[in-house]
């Protein structure tokens, strides 16, 4: 390993040791869960550890998928996370663009109120949000006063609507729209384009990097979300993959092979997304970190 020339011998050893130790600690859980998921039970519980599986089997994946309908929960979560991305992208872009490029009465006031939501931890709004969704007028068998039915509980709207109310998307998009020149819109306005067309045709296509970062964050948040879906969803078939995985590992707490198989399946979409969009992950985190 070639390290910057100015390091002396002792520093080099220290630096390399740190890298290797940290690398092992961070990577070992992945390696350990992968080999466990591929070993037969007899080898999982062998002492000392067999670091390289002697026999490779897919029975744990088969077991996990046949005892629990992981495929269905996978699709549920995928739908929830993707739809959440679309809502956040659209509403976030629309409002972010408006805050950055349009002039209207009360804009400054509205923009001052939004950050207050950063100060409110999610836990504070949890119970009122639940009651609100339950008593939502004319939803899920409710009457006009919000009584009689389940409201929006046990429907995916209970997850998607509060999720679309995120002010994070508005902020991120506003910051990005501010870096774009005003002249683009002015030129299109002279050509007689409508305000929505200017936003949608002229500006929005230029914000691809910001939209990519926002999509990744929103997808990850939606895919990994656990507590809120557990609270609002009651029909077993509507469960998310995280709920299913938690229930599975709680009920079959010694079936480690299948537990590891399930966990890896639950991580897989994020890994694939990371491999495909690595650049945007790093840029996105750095961008939001510096602007907040």
């Amino acid at each position: 390993m070639k390290i910057t020339k100015t390091l002396n011998f002792v520093e080099k050893i220290f630096f390399t040791a740190f890298l290797i130790c940290a690398g092992i600690v961070m990577f070992l859980p992945f390696y350990w869960s992968i080999i466990t998921s591929l070993k037969p039970d007899s080898e999982i519980f062998s002492i000392p550890i067999s670091w390289i599986p002697k026999t490779i089997t897919l029975e744990h994946y088969y077991n996990a998928f046949t005892t629990v309908d992981f495929a269905r929960f996978f699709i549920n979560s995928f739908f929830l996370a993707s739809f959440g991305v679309i809502l956040n992208l659209f509403f976030g872009s629309l409002a972010g663009y408006s805050f950055a490029k349009l002039h209207f009465k009360g804009k400054d006031l509205a923009f001052k109120i939004l950050p207050s939501s950063f100060m409110v931890p999610g836990i504070v709004t949890m119970i009122p949000q639940f009651l609100l969704l339950k008593n939502f007028p004319l939803a899920g068998g409710n009457n006009l006063l919000g009584q009689g039915g389940m409201g929006m509980l046990d429907s995916y709207w209970a997850i998607l609507l509060p999720g679309a109310a995120g002010t994070f998307a508005v902020f991120l998009m506003r910051q990005f729209y501010q870096t774009l020149p005003d002249e683009l819109g002015a030129a299109a306005r002279i050509d007689g384009a409508s305000e929505f067309a200017i936003f949608f045709r002229v500006y929005m296509p230029l914000t691809k990097p910001a939209m990519a970062a926002l999509s990744i964050f929103t997808f990850q948040a939606g895919w990994n979300n656990f507590l809120w879906p557990m609270i609002v969803l009651s029909s077993p078939e509507k469960s998310t993959i995280q709920m299913a995985l938690q229930a599975f590992s709680y009920n079959r707490s010694t079936d480690f092979g299948a537990m590891m198989a399930g966990s890896l399946v639950a991580i897989l979409p994020m890994l694939i997304l990371f491999i495909c969009a690595q650049k945007h992950f790093v840029k996105g985190i750095a961008f939001t970190g510096m602007k907040t």
């Binding site: 390993m1 070639k2 910057t4 100015t6 520093e11 740190f18 940290a22 690398g23 961070m26 990577f27 070992l28 859980p29 992945f30 350990w32 869960s33 466990t36 519980f45 002492i47 550890i49 509403f91 976030g92 629309l94 409002a95 408006s98 805050f99 349009l102 209207f104 009360g106 804009k107 939501s117 100060m119 931890p121 836990i123 504070v124 119970i127 009122p128 949000q129 609100l132 609507l161 109310a165 002010t167 936003f199 990994n224 656990f226 507590l227 609270i231 995985l245 938690q246 590992s249 966990s263 639950a266 991580i267 994020m270 990371f274 690595q278 985190i285 750095a286 970190g289 510096m290 907040t292």
Partner: protein
């Protein structure tokens, strides 16, 4: 036109953030269990809360957790960032390896760590055994359960903060280090005299974000230990979840949420003040 564009976001914000946030305070002064009418009880919930031993334990637990987690998080993620900010062959591989734990969900990570921390067959105790240490039953003992959760959340959280630090480090000009070196400053000296002071805003951001997040610890405590053994890993959010959604004491649970909010607010204000004071002292 401008209003029309922000209208969807404003309406959603009002309905799903502003209104619930205000109702939380109202609910905390009521007795409400969904089935019967809401009843105004004044400060009764808060009086009960002050005598609630388990809630007090959960507060103690979370302060212990935050006090352990946040400083360790800063040390780990900053060291990793400094390491992968050097240029050497394979640096990209290390950046990736350090970052990928941040992609995992709390539930998947907890499931994997249940197996890592297994007292007999888990990899951690087997590695310890190889060097002659008898590892504890990590999650089954009240003395190590919370530390295990710190370990899992550090593993998961360090990568994201590393990227924040890395972005900050890359903003520091190389000339500063070069001129310091010419003045005879060593590597360690330049770290403490140049890197740390210039990384102050990033460090502060990481501290505030980790703090607010870790005060609301739930997923890992739920999936790894179910709040146990005993109440060793019971957290305030876990209490609110139990009280509100299992026992349906929505009013009482709201008073817990308000109190936790005040605790978080207090620590946040304190950090801002400390940050400001130290800045002024330096001037």
């Amino acid at each position: 036109m401008g209003w029309l564009f922000i209208l969807p976001s404003v309406v959603l914000f009002m309905i799903f953030v502003a209104l619930p946030a205000l109702s939380a305070f109202y609910l905390s002064f009521t007795d409400y269990d969904i089935l019967t009418e809401t009843e105004w009880v004044g400060l009764a919930n808060y009086a009960m809360l002050l005598k609630d031993k388990i809630f007090f334990i959960s507060l103690k637990n979370i302060v212990f957790y935050v006090a352990l987690y946040v400083p360790l998080m800063v040390v780990f993620s900053l060291s990793m960032a400094v390491a992968v900010n050097q240029s050497f062959r394979g640096v990209g591989v290390f950046r990736t390896i350090f970052y990928i734990p941040s992609l995992t969900s709390a539930i998947a990570a907890s499931t994997v760590w249940l197996w890592i921390l297994n007292p007999h067959y888990g990899v951690l105790n087997q590695v310890l055994a190889a060097i002659g240490i008898v590892g504890p039953a990590w999650l089954a003992m009240s003395s190590t359960a919370m530390m295990s959760i710190v370990m899992v959340t550090l593993w998961q959280g360090a990568g994201g903060n590393m990227i924040l630090f890395l972005a900050g480090l890359q903003g520091i000009s190389k000339e500063l280090y070069e001129s310091a070196m010419m003045d005879g400053a060593g590597r360690i000296q330049s770290f403490f005299r140049i890197t740390l002071p210039l990384m102050r805003p990033t460090t502060f951001l990481v501290i505030i974000l980790s703090m607010i997040g870790s005060f609301q610890l739930f997923d890992q405590a739920f999936a790894l230990t179910q709040g146990g053994p005993g109440y060793a890993t019971m957290t305030p959010v876990y209490m609110i979840y139990n009280e509100g959604f299992n026992l349906l004491n929505m009013g009482y649970a709201s008073s817990m949420a308000v109190l936790l909010f005040l605790v978080i607010l207090l620590f946040t204000i304190l950090s801002f003040k400390l940050n400001k004071d130290e800045k002024e002292m330096k001037k």
